[in-house]
Symmetry: C2
Subunit: 413 residues, 2 copies
């Protein structure tokens, strides 16, 4: 279960109700008309799980993911969160950067006999992905026209160059719906296929996501609309949203959120104005010793969303030891670290509220696939809502094209 608490004031005026109703209609239309596809993934992706039942991957023990951005961040996020609670999950290696040191290191970790390879690219020709894939083919001596084709999965758009490549070699192919953008694709084949094979319960995760989407469209997640409206109205004054997660396993979720938020909302709007909210992900309690000072005393240009996990299902505690001269820390003895980190989260939230900063808090009772599915669509829906209010195209990313053109030109020289 997720629970939501708001510590900023938001009054329901008729003007605001109108905005909320308008964007609700927009999202509903996006869903019903199939203009935007992520809303239906919790149901449509079940077909992938069914298809996987007929593909025997039991003899493989390692998953190698080659993908970047929307083709890796979501997979990494779910893997990081659920792994501590899924001891039997298969190892996953990620190739996502063109950094020669990281690629070299990750190559040495591949178990050449026991690895399944996933090449993931929506467009099919992402330069990092194809370059690294060539390197992996060469280093692992993969025979694309032989048995090895059976342990390669291509996840891409129907009709893409990667799709044609897969069909040519008889490689397993899974498609991303055309109407699902890369950063909204974690619940498509992109995340579902490798994570299910790795041993995670993706059916339950999709179930949690589906329940939240349904509840949202039945108007039972009013708090989400109100939060979107608050963030939209304050998008100039409080242009930075800090996601302050109190658990190390949530760090990759914050990176997924940064892409979702930054790439969806940082746009030129219908009136040709540059708009957007800047996402920052930090981790508690460590970043109390880093970013917090700026939040408390710096410019009031930030809102902060705290995320905590009520029950880590871990009873590790501070032993009842008194250290000579450091006895004043004994008040924490015999407490669990679970209690300590949650008390730190709450105390920090209180201090941020007292500094006059807009705060809200999302609490997970436990880490379950259900809760993680719900968290993912919570952020996707929030992004769509704010994007609609800002009147931007939430689903494209025209700003990143120029760099690709320049790269191509420079390297062709």
């Amino acid at each position: 279960m997720l629970s939501f608490r708001r510590e900023f004031s938001f009054e329901l005026t008729s003007e605001r109700e109108e905005i909320m109703q308008m964007v609700m209609e927009k999202l509903t239309h996006e869903m019903i008309s199939d203009e935007i596809g992520y809303y239906k993934l919790p149901t449509s992706s079940l077909a992938h799980l069914q298809r996987l039942e007929s593909i025997d991957t039991s003899k493989y023990e390692q998953i190698v993911i080659i993908g970047v951005g929307g083709s890796s961040l979501g997979i990494k996020a779910i893997d990081s969160i659920l792994r501590p609670f899924t001891p039997d999950a298969k190892e996953i290696l990620f190739f996502e950067n063109s950094d020669p040191i990281t690629i070299t290191e990750t190559l040495t970790k591949i178990d050449q006999e026991k690895a399944l390879f996933f090449i993931i690219s929506k467009s099919g020709s992402t330069i990092e992905t194809t370059s690294i894939f060539k390197r992996v083919i060469s280093t692992c001596k993969l025979d694309l026209d032989g048995e090895d084709a059976k342990r390669i999965f291509a996840i891409t758009d129907k009709g893409s160059s990667l799709s044609e490549f897969a069909q040519h070699h008889g490689i397993h192919e899974f498609n991303i719906p055309d109407n699902v953008g890369g950063r909204f694709s974690v619940l498509s084949a992109v995340g579902v296929v490798p994570l299910q094979i790795a041993g995670y319960d993706m059916q339950t995760l999709l179930g949690g996501a589906g329940s939240f989407v349904n509840s949202f469209f039945e108007n039972q997640e009013q708090h989400l609309l109100e939060k979107a409206c608050y963030m939209y109205e304050n998008s100039k004054k409080q242009s930075i949203n800090v996601l302050f997660s109190y658990a190390d396993c949530l760090e990759n979720l914050t990176k997924w959120y940064v892409q979702l938020w930054g790439e969806s909302l940082g746009k030129v709007d219908v009136n040709k104005n540059r708009v957007g909210l800047t996402p920052i992900g930090i981790i508690g309690a460590v970043d109390q010793h880093s970013f917090l000072q700026l939040v408390i005393e710096g410019p009031q240009d930030k809102s902060v969303t705290f995320i905590n996990i009520e029950d880590f299902e871990n009873d590790l505690s501070v032993p009842d030891i008194s250290l000579h001269s450091i006895e004043k820390t004994n008040f924490i003895n015999n407490q669990s670290f679970n209690t300590l980190i949650n008390a730190q989260c709450e105390a920090t939230a209180q201090s941020v509220i007292e500094a006059g900063v807009a705060v809200d808090k999302i609490s997970l009772d436990k880490v379950t696939p259900q809760n993680i599915g719900a968290m993912i669509v919570y952020y996707e829906l929030l992004t769509s809502l704010i994007g609609a209010m800002l009147r931007v195209n939430t689903y494209n990313q025209p700003g990143v094209e120029l760099g690709k053109v320049i790269l191509y030109k420079n390297l062709q020289k």
Copy 2:
């Protein structure tokens, strides 16, 4: 060697020269009067290296660091950067968060026979640090009154409770100078002692830092003053500085920078105004697929500093393989990943410049201890300069105290 390139316009007016001269005098005074101690660490920390010659740590193969914030971020940064180039360095484990899952996992990685333990806390009673230390004592059955005392190092302020504790048990003690704040302490015993024992060449690193400090005070790093002045003048309009590092090994350096920048500059100034610059660290090429869209098309409230490594000393290349239907990516065949990532950095920088964003670029010819030492003081000096221009106390962090008080109150209940 570091080289610096600036892509924003900055004209030298008499008013600006005056500001620059004033802050230069302030920093010079801080150094000469010993009000602020980090300027002299490149020299004074050599004494720690000398002392280490008489402590035999050769039979230990693992370093366990217990510390948070300024007591871990800098160590982690240097370790991450130099490790790929220092294959014989001892393993370092970090305990820095009160997260029960991470603590449990890290405890299982301790080699109980071969580990050296470092407890690092400037104040001596940081709650995460002492709590985890008690846990480690208990799990590893450390006998503080026996032989184990010889493999524990306490790094703390003279006269702190941790110092008294160390003296009581005859534990190795190294001190942080009073006039060196936590986030400026990486070149004090905090970083120098564990990293030297781990096998890094800290003498050369301190040498690189010392040369840069000297050159700065001899007025040979004018570009740094000009950059500080630009950032100060634009601190309202361009309140976010993005550090965009093109190498995975630099990710922890960006976390160190976030603490340094955020905690030093996010302050109430002499006129009681809330000021500050918001630091964001991202990694290329991966974050071209994430944060970049917002930089290019979103609000023009950001400046971007690119960091790249010219020579990764790694010749891994893209094999000359043509993939069926994906032939259009063949232009990158036979190129090294070193070339690819640097071409990506430059192409992205060009696209950001064309979007009208203030850009500068720091290039390391190679990863050497010398260059890393210089990079560290480069950022420390830049922080001191901007802090002086903003007229804040760069070296304190009053904003984080309230949370501690609330935590203490809540847990005492």
